[in-house]
Symmetry: C2
Subunit: 359 residues, 2 copies
Amino acid sequence: MARELDELLKQSSEWLRGTGPLSEIVLSSRIRLARNLERLPFIVRSTRASMQEVLDTVKSAVSKVVTLKRAFWFDMSALTEVDRQFLVERHLISREQAGSPEHRAVVLSQSEAISVMVNEEDHLRIQVLQSGLNLRDAWTLGDTLDDELSELLPFAYSTDLGYLTCCPTNTGTGMRASVMLHLPSLVMTKQINKVLHTITKLGLAARGFYGEGTEASGNFFQISNQVTLGRNEEELIENIERILKQVIEYEQGARASLMANNRTQLEDRVWRALGILRHARTISSQETLDLLSAVRLGVDLGLMNGLDRSAVNELFLFSQPSHLQKLEGKNLSAKDRDVVRAELIRQKLGIQGKDGKGK
Amino acid sequence: MARELDELLKQSSEWLRGTGPLSEIVLSSRIRLARNLERLPFIVRSTRASMQEVLDTVKSAVSKVVTLKRAFWFDMSALTEVDRQFLVERHLISREQAGSPEHRAVVLSQSEAISVMVNEEDHLRIQVLQSGLNLRDAWTLGDTLDDELSELLPFAYSTDLGYLTCCPTNTGTGMRASVMLHLPSLVMTKQINKVLHTITKLGLAARGFYGEGTEASGNFFQISNQVTLGRNEEELIENIERILKQVIEYEQGARASLMANNRTQLEDRVWRALGILRHARTISSQETLDLLSAVRLGVDLGLMNGLDRSAVNELFLFSQPSHLQKLEGKNLSAKDRDVVRAELIRQKLGIQGKDGKGK
């Protein structure tokens, strides 16, 4: 199992590839579909036997689906805790899926664009990730996969309500469309709370870097639809896209305003962030995210031409605890991770001079 | 006048040369002698005419003194405000002398080891600066100059009280012996207040970077004797040296303890300071002092072998407001100084790679 995960270690996650439309503000777009098998109890009422039956049924179907032809199947309980956290850090499984591995699994396409969690809150959570603002392609791919799977699996569906889900907030389309936004300028100019408040009033939810219940880190905000019922998928996507366009315009406006009116302070901020990253000897993952966020803004605004943009993007991921431990090939205490993280960052963002690297 | 000051601009100040005994902790040693002319009123009771008489009398004497053969005479009122501040920054005149230039002057030896303020609080303030812990040499030189001057100038002296001074706290020897200490480890380990408290109880005074009434900046502390009466100069120097040796031992102990028990945190701190200095686009002189203090500690502890030690020492001086303005050859607003300061620092501590310098 670990060998296939080690392959992932060599690549940047889809959501951090830094390509795709508007990728200087929108890291990634995600479509998630919640599906359950007919006649088997929802997870909250499940038994070990029923969960095992879901696993067996889904595994068998997955092996026949064209879109998942080369996908990996990982039983959660066969993975180490570090490996499970590694998948959380890549946004391929939820923290809940990692936390209770028994009778749970995930299907991953090689590119990481598709992941299907089995026996998370619902029997199936089909997730499609695309770089940049690209909910349409994500939906097209998710819809295709959903069609393929539904030919093999009897999904719980009501003609009145749509897809039936464990939590009623997901009933209907079972779809959640979400985007990960990088909004450093709205944070710097203190407009972010107003923007998030407006988003919430318009029926969208704003969450942190690692989804529900997490804090906004590194100025990343995950925006998603709350409503899944009463409209079809295209309408839901259209609605979120319309609002997103405005948020993106606000962030672009804030960036332009900072460049026009506070350029020195802005340059100072992004270069100092780079200076700390290049020189620190111990650094937490939280501080790393915050500083990388500033550096990314600097790169996006063309203030740091010499810097390797992909190195910055990669570090968002590879500086995370489990990525670090997999890179090092061993478990590390939090204290040791902070030292190894600082070393990795110096290596990746290093200066070619003798003083920049190591001691 | 300005031309001679421009010569000074090319050299590092005596107190920042970074040479002399124990110079990793003791920046400089200073002996100051307060002297007044007989029959002329103290400055607090002076008239313009009496101040002018002091100036004329002293100027005439100075021109005949061997030790001051190549010294410069600067009338304060002939210098611009930036030039006067420049001399304050080099610790050659007091802020008071710079603030009220009328009928005031300073005599400077070429090496800056000797400065004689005329019509400051007393008619003469003879000051001798030496790099490192070197009060003895400073005293020997000051004593020689005092002897030479006293042959030409009738100093106010009482056989009961010794030298008479404007403020009674200086009466007696008229001598203040002081040293500038760099005590970053006592600050980091939070022992500094206890040490300063003990120093005060032992009859010494602790002041900030720019003398009386200034805050400790960059972990620099100026320690001097309070008592000038009742003991001779050698006894006063012996007393301050004895106490200083203990303070130095405490700082050395704190450095050793940080190296043994908190090496990672220590390295992190000094390297981050360097990282910020190397990357900032705008920086205040206060922050510069604090960060340079950390970098200097790193250099002193051998943690930053590639770094140019003299560049670090010079920056303490050349990053100051008036030094910056003289380097630039024009007056600058505080905001512009912060930008120019950051540029100078990047240049001096710069990295040879393309990303380190400029944009």
